[in-house]
Amino acid sequence: MSTSSAGPNPDSQTPKAPAEVGVSGSVTDLTPYLPPVGNEYDLEMTDPKGSAGVPDPVEVIFDCSDVEVHYGEHRAIRDVSLGFGLREVTALIGPSGCGKSTFLRCLNRMNDLIPNAKVGGHVMYHGQDLYADEIDPVQVRKRIGMVFQKPNPFPKSIYDNVAFGPRVVGMEGNMDEIVERALIRGALWDEVKDRLTENAFGMSGGQQQRLCIARALATDPDVLLMDEPCSALDPISTGRIEDLMAELKERISIVIVTHNMQQAARVSDKTAFFTVEMAEDEKRRTGVVVEYDATDTIFTNPSDKRTEDYVTGKFG
């Protein structure tokens, strides 16, 4: 847990469990990961970049080389080679239509759901090519969580939303504890512990998005892909989700697509800047990576003129 975060509320260490949840002591092994779920939120950023805190060298989780995606005839991105490490937040930034989301969706094979989308190149996850013939995309998505642009809770109770992943995956263990743990990690437990059976549609947009994060965390993924997770939220909800990301990265990797450059600067350790290449006929737009470096470098001392123009607001 980040040392600079607010002193943990005593309540967060021993969550008051409703009667049906098992003894709270049984989740003590998770204590190191409990976020400070107090009511008073520290909206100041808690130095999520943890400038000195990133262990070096980092364990590589994703190693992508020459990734390209075609939608039918149209090439959406080409030659994307990026690597993501454990306990790192990587931001993908760039103008609209540059293929950030397309690339993000390659990482858990969500592009498989789009008819006639074709992915080339290599996406190595813990050394395993996710696009090898014998790989089952459903198994891939069990290990790599995803949070979408618009909160998309299921029209079910809060509890059933979080329990959905563990249930379809067939996770062992006490479901009440799994749900509680996920909601605590999603910084939502204190707000919803008394209304777990209520429909998730009754929550505010920010709560819904944190529910979606908790839902994704319930199956214990080691990577969380976030596709503009705050674009539909107000600044306070955005702040909470950014805080949450800073806590989550203590344990997992996050790859986030964002249009908000301040957000990228606040939350990420590394930043990849994408841009659009126009083909000669001016109709084909293909996304490419211009620059990939430590976030500080991208925002203060980029080596490519296009990156500088974008981050300083001259373009895009």
């Binding site: 069990k142 969580g145 979408f148 995956v169 994704a216």
Partner: protein, 317 residues
């Protein structure tokens, strides 16, 4: 300066004031036509209810409601002691045959809907959906003769070896099921297709397989529409006349054994109304009483469906 602005005001005002123009006359004409069209359907319904009520009231002047609603023998066309006005056999025939039909139609219709909405390739869906809708719109007399000349002798007697009478409830009920299957499939498929893609993506993103996405996310999310599809199918079966008239026989029964003859409310009305019963007699009035009963049952079902749909309705942005 002042004068100028005054004339400007007047000119603007002259422009804006509503003029009795050709446009406004045409608009009120169209409005009147639309109003007339809307009123026509209301007036028709009212006229039907009034006609039914008149005869019904007259009927209950002679026969006690108790012997009508609680009587177990329906022989209104006989005379003397043989004559009896208990409607239960007709109600039983209606619901029993509908039940047999739904036993076929609900699983078939829902499975077809799930397949079409979640599993079929777009090409397959594009060609199957219109066929389903065509089937749903086929004249029911064709289904009736199909039941009488194929299902009863070939399927039930020869293939399955069930000793059914020529006119029997089983064949009528099964074919009733075939009739409403496309309706249920089509409406339920529409409901499932209208579930936003973002929910499917959310579920896939959590490691759900296709079947899990279909059954655990899309199906429950579309529940209100699916219930509406089932109730629509049930009302269609309840109001269905010709199949039961042709294949189900014409003697009312309260038996549980579906191999014999049954009569439903609608098929009684059809069978009796084409006969030569003199107007103004008690026998004649039975047509309207049964019609009114059928009307009430259907109305009740529609009311329930509206409430269920409103209750479980999930509005997505």
């Amino acid at each position: 300066m002042n004068a100028v602005s005054t004339t400007t005001v007047e000119r603007v005002r002259a422009d804006l004031v509503r003029a009795r123009s050709a446009r406004s006359a045409r608009e009120s004409l169209i409005k009147g036509l639309l109003f007339f069209a809307a009123m026509l359907s209301i007036a028709t319904t009212t006229a039907i209810v009034v006609t039914l009520l008149q005869q019904t009231i007259s009927f209950f002047g002679e026969i006690s409601p108790l012997s009508y609603f609680a009587g177990t023998k329906w022989t209104p066309l006989l005379s003397g002691d043989q004559q009896s006005f208990g409607v239960l056999p007709l109600l039983w025939g209606t619901f029993y045959l509908t039940g047999i039909g739904l036993l076929v139609a609900v699983p078939c219709g829902l499975l077809a809907a799930i397949y079409l909405a979640e599993f079929a390739k777009p090409k397959v869906r594009k060609s199957v959906k219109p066929i389903l809708e065509l089937l749903a719109g086929m004249p029911t007399i064709i289904f009736g003769y199909f039941a009488l000349t194929f299902v009863t002798p070939v399927i039930l007697r020869d293939v399955l070896g069930i000793p059914v009478s020529q006119f029997n409830g089983l064949a009528a009920g099964l074919v009733l099921g075939l009739l409403v299957t496309p309706t249920i499939a089509s409406v339920a498929e529409d409901a499932m297709r209208s579930v936003p893609q973002s929910l499917r993506e959310g579920a896939y993103g959590l490691g759900a397989g296709r079947l899990q996405v279909a059954l655990r996310v899309v199906f429950p999310a579309a529940l209100s529409g699916i219930v509406a599809a089932l109730i629509l199918g049930a009302s269609r079966a309840i109001g269905e006349t010709v199949i039961i008239l042709i294949a189900g026989g014409q003697s009312p029964s309260m038996s549980l054994n579906p191999t014999g003859s049954f009569q439903s409310m609608a098929s009684f009305i059809a069978a009796t109304a084409r006969g030569d019963i003199p107007q103004g007699t008690l026998k004649y009035e039975t047509i309207f009483v049964v019609g009114f009963t059928l009307f009430c049952v259907t109305l009740l079902l529609n009311a329930i469906s509206t409430r269920v749909v409103a209750r479980y309705r999930q509005v997505y942005e």
